[in-house]
């Protein structure tokens, strides 16, 4: 037990240092390995993983909401939150307390069971996906060998939650919003998955840990030539649609559907939907960073030895944070710049443009792989 504490402390230090040992066991592996020796140590690792994920969820929710408000404010020539805490940093915390302490309103004719289940379903999907995101060699809870498949599967839980929430509210606007969300998310899931498959083709693995390892030589975005770049673009567009964010925020459609699927939700349940939206954004950005931008790997430019050495000194967690943060900024940028698409335009974009594009792209990726012109590092 004591050893576990010491290891944790060392690991925490280690994760901030510039150690170049990429192959650290994940928390789940540590637990499995410790199971034979001491069940307590095993339980400790599992507990650490769970608590860490929950803490990360809360922290991410709070900080992303704050970031969104501040960034939106910049775009709109205003200041954003300034009063609570240093530069308004505690504003989201205050808002969370407000939401939690609000009256628990349920529409009279709502389907109570589904109405209560929906937000939890959305959040639990996010939680399950979050466990799989490799934030650094040491902050990695589980490395499933079917990681990508798992993430797409549990990510689809959110659409179920949205559909249920809209249906159970017994409100026509909510229903319209949730049907839009259903049509939209199910459609965009296709090109999203097809763009993921490009990387799976290149790496030959669904495990996120292995995908990151495979990018030691260079990020897939550069190494995968054109197919990877196209896949990256498709991924960013499709995940914006998956996230229900502007220009694809038809499910909420504030000016059309009042608030879409969560019109009838308030208080804690609304907070959960809101939290899920931001976590989803983090997961999408983290996934894009992991697959295309090398995850926690530092930026290396072939031939520049000194530059690469300097880059190596930046801890992996910082690299992951920078890449993910950059992508999150892009999502926010899109949101505060674009108007919203119409439902038929949205579906047309997917079925007539993105889906054929990503299918052709997958074929091109396969050709590139077969001809072996994409450089080193792929499966032999």
């Amino acid at each position: 037990m004591k050893a576990a504490w010491i290891t944790t402390a060392l690991l925490a230090l280690h994760s901030l240092s510039a150690a170049r040992d990429w192959t650290q066991p994940t928390l789940a592996e540590r637990a499995a390995e410790a199971a034979g020796r001491s069940p307590w140590e095993s339980a400790f690792w599992i507990g650490l993983g769970l608590a860490g994920t929950l803490a990360a969820m809360t922290l991410l929710g709070l900080s992303l909401v704050y970031a969104e408000r501040k960034i939106a404010a910049r775009f709109q020539c205003r200041l954003g939150p300034t009063r609570v805490g240093w530069r308004g940093t505690l504003q989201t915390l205050a808002d969370t307390f407000k939401l939690i302490s609000k009256a628990d309103l349920v529409p009279r004719d709502a389907d109570r069971l589904l109405f209560f289940t929906a937000p939890w379903l959305v959040v639990s999907g996010m939680l399950l996906a979050l466990v799989n995101i490799p934030a650094s060699p040491l902050l990695f809870v589980v490395d499933l060998n079917i990681g990508l498949l798992f993430i797409s599967a549990v990510g689809a839980l959110s659409v179920l939650g949205i559909l249920l929430g809209g249906w159970a509210s017994n409100n026509k606007w909510s229903l319209l919003g949730s049907m839009r969300a259903g049509a939209q998310i199910i459609s965009y899931e296709l090109s999203l998955t097809l763009s993921l498959l490009v990387i799976v083709l290149f790496t030959g693995s669904l495990s996120l840990g292995e995908i990151v390892q495979s990018q030691q030589e260079g990020w897939w975005l550069w190494r995968g030539h054109l197919p990877a770049m196209v896949a990256f673009l498709v991924f960013v567009i499709a995940s914006t649609a998956e996230l229900n964010r502007t220009p694809f925020d038809l499910a909420e459609g504030e000016s059309e559907l009042t608030a879409g699927f969560h019109t009838e939700y308030s208080g804690l349940r609304f907070a959960l939907f809101y939290l899920a939206e931001f976590l989803n954004m983090f997961i999408a950005a983290g996934l894009a960073a992991t697959l295309f931008l090398g995850g926690w790997m530092p930026l290396h430019i072939a031939g520049l030895q000194t530059f690469n050495r300097v880059m190596d000194f930046i801890p992996p967690l910082v690299w992951f944070g920078l890449k993910t943060g950059g992508l999150i900024f892009v999502f926010m940028w899109l949101r505060w710049t674009f108007p919203r698409l119409r439902i038929d335009q949205l579906l047309k974009l997917e079925w007539r443009f993105l889906l054929p594009l990503s299918m052709v792209n997958l074929l091109v990726a396969a050709l590139v792989l077969l001809l072996g012109v994409y450089g080193k590092g792929g499966p032999a």
């Binding site: 939106a72 839009r180 000016s255 059309e256 674009f338 108007p339 119409r342 335009q345």
Partner: protein
């Protein structure tokens, strides 16, 4: 033969598709809905996301202003007129003033007319900046909303200096103006106009050129010139449909006859044309204001005694002018008292609203919002 009156129940009778096809359903858009900007209620008959029929239901903000007017003196009526279309308060003031002045035979001087014209044009800019922001928000882009309000705020403060109010402004009165201009008025307006010239270009960069915005607007809700005339549409809505009818040009009032400006006219009458006409109007108004602010003649600003009772001769009088939203008319029947016997407003919004019944069927829910935004409706003006 009396025409049959349709009740709401008649209109609501749904023809369900025979053979269990798709079922149409009704949704209330409003009276509380973010896109209707007020208490307008639209009853939508939908087939999935496609609109089959739209039935506007009015009466949620009826205040009986026309009836109240029958018990107010002519000076007091001016103060009620800005509660109608609150974004063209000064234009409404001016219209009431004009009808009273014409009936009472009050002559005004050049200074008063110039300031009135300037105020009306500034208010057109104020109204159109707000419209632009809200238009962006209705399309789903929230940022234009705050940019529009930012630019409007400056102008609102300028109005506040002189008039004392920010929204329901009372300034134009029978016989002149309520006060003279504030001493900071001219420099502040000049500074604002200079600044705003770049802002219109910024609006273009932010929203007009956006691919998504264009996709959402072009060929949506096309209204032909004949239809627009038939529905009584006026203002930018009519001009977007290709009818160059602008009272400032065809029946000049104020000092418009001395001014040089272009009346922007659309071609197809779709949402994009309505958008473009308003953006162009902003540019024209900007140029007009720049001319007017330099050419305010000296003179008195009030030509009748403030406490004097205005008594109109018997008869019926009608005056109209071009507000930012179209033709606002005042119909007045006097029986020789200091209060009207009957007072009626012809509001541009009520007529523009009915365009939605023509252009909306077949569109999607999102298009209705774009169309409503393009018509630029102010609800308290429809229900008086």
């Amino acid at each position: 033969m009396t025409p049959k009156t349709l009740t709401l129940q008649d209109l609501l009778r749904t023809d369900f598709a025979p053979g269990g096809g798709t079922q149409e359903y009704f949704v209330n858009m409003g009276p509380q809905h973010p896109a209707t900007h007020g208490v307008l209620r639209l009853l939508l008959k939908l087939d999935g996301e496609t609109l089959r029929q739209v039935i506007p239901v009015l009466g949620y903000i009826h205040r009986g202003i026309e009836k109240i007017c029958e018990h107010q003196t002519y000076r007091q009526i001016v103060h009620l007129s800005d509660r109608l279309d609150y974004l063209s308060a000064l234009a409404n003031n001016w219209c009431v003033t004009r009808v009273v002045e014409r009936a009472a035979g009050i002559e005004t001087n050049e200074r008063i007319e110039t300031i009135r014209t300037l105020m009306a044009e500034l208010e057109r800019l104020q109204s159109h900046t707000l419209w632009w922001g809200v238009f962006g928000m209705d399309l789903g882009a929230f940022t234009p909303f705050l940019h529009g309000f930012r630019d409007r705020e400056e102008l609102t403060q300028i109005f506040e200096d002189t008039i004392g109010a920010r929204l329901t402004m009372n300034y134009i009165q029978p016989g002149g103006l309520l006060h003279d201009l504030h001493k900071d008025f001219a420099p502040r307006v000049r500074a604002w106009l200079k600044d705003f010239g770049t802002k219109v270009d910024e609006y273009d960069r932010m929203l007009s050129g956006n691919l998504i915005a264009q996709k959402r607007l072009v060929d949506i809700g096309a209204l032909s010139g004949d239809e627009a005339l038939g529905l009584g549409a006026t203002g930018p809505v009519l001009r977007a449909s290709g009818v160059p009818w602008d009272l400032r040009r065809v029946r000049p009032y104020g000092v418009y006859d001395q001014l040089d400006f272009v009346v922007p006219v659309g071609e197809k009458g779709d949402c994009w044309d309505r958008y473009w006409v308003r953006i162009e109007e902003m540019r024209q108004s900007l140029a007009l204001c720049e001319t007017l602010i330099e050419n305010i003649p000296e003179g008195k600003t009030m030509l009748v005694k403030p406490a004097a009772k205005i008594r109109l001769p018997e008869g019926t009088f009608y005056e109209e002018l071009e507000t930012p939203r179209g033709i606002f008319g005042v119909h007045l029947h006097s029986r020789g008292k200091d209060m009207p016997w009957r007072f009626h407003f012809r509001s541009p919004n009520l007529h523009n609203l009915w365009c939605i019944t023509k252009i909306a069927p077949g569109a999607r829910v999102a298009d209705i919002v774009a169309m409503l935004a393009g018509l630029d409706l102010i609800v308290p003006d429809m229900d008086r």
